[in-house]
Structures are given as structure tokens and as C-alpha cells.
């Protein structure tokens, strides 16, 4: 059952990724990306890494993609880049991606299977995660808050630049 669910979500996330390449309108691309991210969250939940699954839904789908959807709705739909999907690098780009996939998957298939068993079934509850996070990694926690502050200041600076450019 779990194996079937894992395969289902692997195929669903792959399908969402492929749809991102062929869909025309950015809003549909955003919805395909959201479905890929939700499938990845489901994969994390199947693996037992519940903390990451929750973060994936909250931060990626809840914050990042909502912001992206707002940005798409602010834009003009008559933009020519909405009707012409591909740039001139269509064939080289696809060939490069195909070479990358084939090389990696062949390398994976040739390697001996990883040592399973040790970590299988380990669940990452919130408690051990938060204890490790705030005991051992508190410096990085503080650094991320500094980074977020810098991002806020940069976003405000960009807004100011936009106003000056118009006025």
C-alpha cells in the first residue's frame, strides 16, 4: 500500500514537472508547480519525515507560491511572452537535460543499492527536531533571521527604486 502510494506520488510530481515545460500561461505553470510540491510533501510524509512535509506545505506552497501567484495576477496577459512559449535554445536545452538525466540514472543503476535498514521507519517528530535545532544550531537560526531582515530591507529598497523610476 505504502509502496503504491510512493509510486503514485513520484509519478504525480514527475508529471507536474513535465507539465511546467509545456503549459503556456504562467498561472497554469504555477499550479503545476504547486501540485509537484504537494506531491513531494506527500513523499516526505510517506518517508516519515513529517516535519519537512509540514514545512514544505507551509513555506513553499503557502508562502512562496502564493506570492508567485499574486505576482502573476499583477501582470498583463497580452504579453507576447505568454503566447510564445519557447526561446531559441529549445533543442540544446532539452538535449542537455536528457544527457544529465541519462548520466545520473545510469550512474545510480550501476551503483550498489544503498545500505537500507538503518534509517528506515525512523520518524522525525517535531520534538527531536526542535531540540536539535535550538540546542546545536541556534547560531544558524539567528543567521536566518538576519537574512530574512536583509530580504525585507531589500524588498523595500526595490519598491523605493520602482517609485523613483516612475516619478
Amino acid at each position: 500500500m505504502q509502496q503504491a502510494l510512493l509510486w503514485f506520488f513520484v509519478l504525480a510530481s514527475l508529471a507536474g514537472g513535465l507539465l511546467m515545460l509545456v503549459l503556456r500561461h504562467p498561472m497554469r505553470v504555477a499550479l503545476a508547480l504547486i501540485s509537484t510540491m504537494v506531491s513531494l510533501a506527500a513523499i516526505y510524509a510517506i518517508l516519515g519525515v513529517h516535519v519537512i512535509a509540514v514545512f514544505q506545505v507551509l513555506i513553499y506552497v503557502g508562502a512562496v507560491m502564493v506570492f508567485m501567484v499574486y505576482a502573476i495576477m499583477l501582470l498583463d496577459v497580452r504579453d507576447p511572452s505568454f503566447t510564445h512559449r519557447y526561446s531559441g535554445y529549445l533543442l540544446p536545452g532539452l538535449a542537455g537535460a536528457a544527457v544529465l538525466v541519462v548520466a545520473f540514472v545510469r550512474g545510480l543503476a550501476g551503483s550498489t543499492p544503498a545500505v537500507m535498514g538503518a534509517g528506515v521507519g525512523t520518524t522525525f517528530d517535531v520534538q527531536p527536531f526542535s531540540v536539535a535545532f535550538l540546542n546545536d544550531y541556534w547560531l544558524y537560526f539567528e543567521l536566518t533571521s538576519v537574512l530574512l531582515l536583509a530580504a525585507v530591507v531589500a524588498a523595500i529598497a526595490i519598491l523605493k527604486a520602482r517609485r523613483r523610476g516612475n516619478g
Binding site: 513520484v10 504562467p26 504579453d79 510564445h84 526561446s87 536545452g93 537535460a97 551503483s111 536583509a150 531589500a154
Partner: protein
């Protein structure tokens, strides 16, 4: 194929799809979303391997990557909107004058 190999293959495929999207698509916002897809592929491999090793370090690292991605989007999307307002388009070909 066992589960670890399956998930690592999926993460490679997602990374390659994102890379192809960044190269072949025209729209700036779509390119940005394909970059997010690449990041998601990398995070998937990180989660898979850290779950194998049963370590919380990987989970902490993934959380930090999420925060960095959120900060990146918070800056990148206003920049894209600014560029779109200046050139009246999101077409990549309109920005060739940014070449050095």
C-alpha cells in the same frame, strides 16, 4: 530498484526538468518557477539521504534551505516586476541589453 534509488532518480529528473525550463522558456516568471523546481529536486535528495542516515542534521539543513528560498523569492519577484514595468514585457529577449 529500491526506494532510495527511485527517489534519487526522481530528484535528478526534477533538477533536469527545472534546468531545461530555465533554458528553454521565455517568460521570466516561468524561469523563476523552474529554478524553484530545481531547488525542490535538490531538497528531495537531501531529505532522502538524511532519512537514510537517520540524522536530524539533514532536517535542519532542509529547513534552512527553505528559509533561504523564501528570502530569495521575496527579492526576486519584486525585481521581476520592476523589470516588467520598465520594459513592458516579461520576454527574455527584451533584456539582451543587460549583457556585459
Amino acid at each position: 530498484m529500491d526506494n532510495t534509488q527511485l527517489l534519487l532518480a526522481l530528484s535528478t529528473a526534477l533538477f533536469a526538468i527545472g534546468l531545461a525550463g530555465v533554458v528553454i522558456r521565455r517568460n521570466l516568471l516561468v524561469m523563476l518557477m523552474c529554478m524553484e523546481l530545481m531547488l525542490n529536486g535538490v531538497v528531495l535528495s537531501l531529505v532522502t539521504l538524511s532519512q537514510q542516515a537517520a540524522s536530524t542534521t539533514g532536517a535542519v539543513l532542509v529547513f534552512l534551505v527553505f528559509v533561504v528560498a523564501a528570502a530569495e523569492i521575496a527579492i526576486a519577484v519584486p525585481i521581476v516586476l520592476l523589470l516588467a514595468r520598465r520594459k513592458r514585457t516579461l520576454d527574455m529577449d527584451a533584456f539582451t541589453d543587460l549583457k556585459g
